[in-house]
């Protein structure tokens, strides 16, 4: 029998990029600048805590919303760090990474046809997740001249024109590293208020902000009721494999998200939750050290890319650079494939993050300094040969 696939899933944007990923995975001796996760291993004290918890028999389910201890640790942290006030019992939910948080958030608030503004370049899952939840994506192309930042004006105009109900923002951003200063976030907040928007804000790279302090939108006066704040442990604590994230927001929204979560996920894995408690309690220095290291690589890679002729703006956060490859006259995907085959350097074509990202590639600098140097040498060689 032929099992037919749901129309919705069949129509879901096919990932042309999958084929390219397979190409990378089957090739040996590749220097990869295509990785979306830290190159650090989770700090030992976190891993040790996780091992200990297994030895002690912490192998059960937890409460649907996540261990109360972890929720308290998170809300205390948010209070301390950003002055945000969330009730750990009613306004916080532990998710399986920010990925699940996104899915829950959109499913909890979207009615069929609701319009969701998503700036482009966009992390790969935003549009499909909105699509699956029955929403209608309204992409807004950000301008490289604005450092790939969505402007308050763009939000205002698009909301008026398209009747947008929900705004998705992500900062520091994957794939551009763009982030917003406090005053830029305040400008966005004004429009959110004016247009009465609901905002889903993915701030998983918040700790990796280099040139100024991160300001969560939800920390601004009057914004708490508008924002579903998503964050997690993957990036700052190098804990991608633990799969732990969280969502904070108005209790009504959190309880709706919990309803979906309890039927589809039940709870986040307990080992990861125990590790996350430890991460929040005792990792200040680890986080700062990793951040300093990323910052050095950022300075190096952005200058090196510009020096070899690939124009690249200075990203303000995360661990990505997003250079233009237009000088080669090639399409992003062709460039990525050709570079991989000829010089064995892997990066992600910009088009993975939206049609408007043609002519760009994403370079992850979550890779050792030696690797970055070697990759730059190879890309330079490639550019000279193809010129």
């Amino acid at each position: 029998m032929d099992i037919s696939i749901s129309k919705k899933v069949e129509q879901l944007a096919p990932s042309g990029i999958r084929e390219f990923f397979d190409l990378v995975l089957n090739m040996k001796d590749v220097i990869s600048l295509g990785v979306g996760e830290p190159d650090f291993v989770s700090p030992w004290h976190i891993r040790e805590k996780a091992i200990h918890s297994l030895e002690q028999g912490f192998t059960s389910y937890t409460s649907n919303k996540g261990m109360p201890e972890l929720r308290k640790e998170i809300t205390h942290f948010l209070k301390r760090r950003y002055g945000m006030g969330y009730d750990p019992m009613e306004e916080a939910l532990i998710t399986v990474g920010v990925s699940e948080g996104l899915d829950l958030a959109f499913r909890a608030i979207i009615n069929p046809g609701d319009k969701v503004l998503i700036p482009e370049p966009a992390y790969v899952s935003y549009c499909p997740v909105v699509d699956l939840a029955g929403g209608k994506v309204v992409n807004v192309k950000t301008d490289p001249k604005d450092g790939f930042k969505l402007t308050a004006k763009q939000i205002d105009e698009t909301s008026a024109k398209e009747g947008v109900r929900i705004l998705m923002i992500n900062y520091p951003a994957n794939p551009t590293g763009a982030s917003y200063t406090k005053s830029e976030i305040e400008d966005i907040a004004k429009i959110v208020k004016k247009r009465n928007l609901i905002v889903v804000s993915d701030e998983v790279y918040d700790e990796l902000t280099y040139d100024f302090d991160h300001t969560p939108l939800a920390s601004l006066r009057g914004m708490k009721d508008h924002v579903i704040y998503l964050n997690g442990f993957s990036k700052a604590y190098a804990m991608t494999g633990f799969r732990i994230g969280w969502a904070c927001g108005p209790s009504k929204v959190i309880s709706a998200m919990t309803k979906i979560h309890q039927y589809t996920m039940l709870c986040a894995p307990i080992t990861g939750q125990v590790a996350a408690i430890e991460a929040l309690r005792n990792s200040f220095h680890n986080v700062q050290e990793m951040k300093r290291e990323y910052n050095r690589r950022r300075r190096y890679i952005v200058k090196a890319l510009n020096d070899i002729g690939l124009e690249c703006h200075m990203p303000q956060g995360a661990f990505y650079a997003f250079p233009s490859i237009r000088c080669t006259g090639m399409k992003s995907m062709d460039f990525a494939k050709d570079l991989l085959q000829k010089q064995k350097v892997a990066l992600v074509p910009g088009t993975a993050f939206g049609k408007s990202c043609e002519g760009y590639v994403r370079i992850s600098y979550a890779s050792s300094y030696e690797n970055l140097q070697e990759a730059i040498r190879r890309i330079e060689k490639y550019l000279k040969k193809s010129a």
Binding site: V30, S32, G34, G36, D39, R296, R297, R299, Y300, V348
Partner: protein
């Protein structure tokens, strides 16, 4: 810690030009910074961390930690005695400690005999040395931040979003 020091502490071989790229300082400023750290003694030296068990020649290497109990000298305390001890070239490191004994002396030599001789002939007979306890190092697990047994770390997929 100064960023130049932080980078050099991890890799002493990195050049001023490379440090300049990582810090966005000028090469001149980096060179000047290093020079000033060297001249004021913040940077004591540059060396290689070696796993002596892997050195494949006929030399051998032993290292011992010696606890030394002293009777401090009037008006001079421990510093003068310590100087007499750490001036021996066999002494690699020497620390004054709190606790049951006074000095911890780390010494290295070609074989157990050299170390034994140092203790028996040079250290113990010194005036003011009340006693010593020698601990030979049997196995090294971690040296100066480097884990000696190479573990296979989990590998990231080479491409992901």
């Amino acid at each position: 810690m100064d960023e130049i020091l932080e980078i050099l502490a991890k890799d002493a071989r990195i050049t001023p030009e490379e440090i300049a790229k990582l810090t966005r300082k000028s090469v001149e400023a980096v060179k000047k910074g290093i020079k000033s750290h060297e001249s004021d003694g913040t940077i004591l030296g540059y060396k290689t961390v070696i796993d002596h068990d892997k050195v494949r020649d006929n030399s051998s290497y032993v290292q011992a930690l010696i606890e030394v109990r002293l009777s401090p000298e009037k008006n001079l305390g421990f510093d003068h005695l310590a100087e007499r001890i750490y001036s021996f070239p066999e002494v690699k490191s020497c620390y004054l400690l709190s606790g049951d004994y006074d000095l911890l002396v780390i010494i290295e030599g070609d074989n157990i005999q050299t170390v034994a001789n140092f203790v028996a002939l040079k250290l113990s007979p010194m005036e003011n040395v009340r006693g010593t306890t020698t601990h030979f190092i049997l196995k090294r697990y971690k040296e100066d931040g480097h884990i000696l047994k190479k573990k296979q770390l989990g590998k990231r997929p080479s491409i992901s979003y």
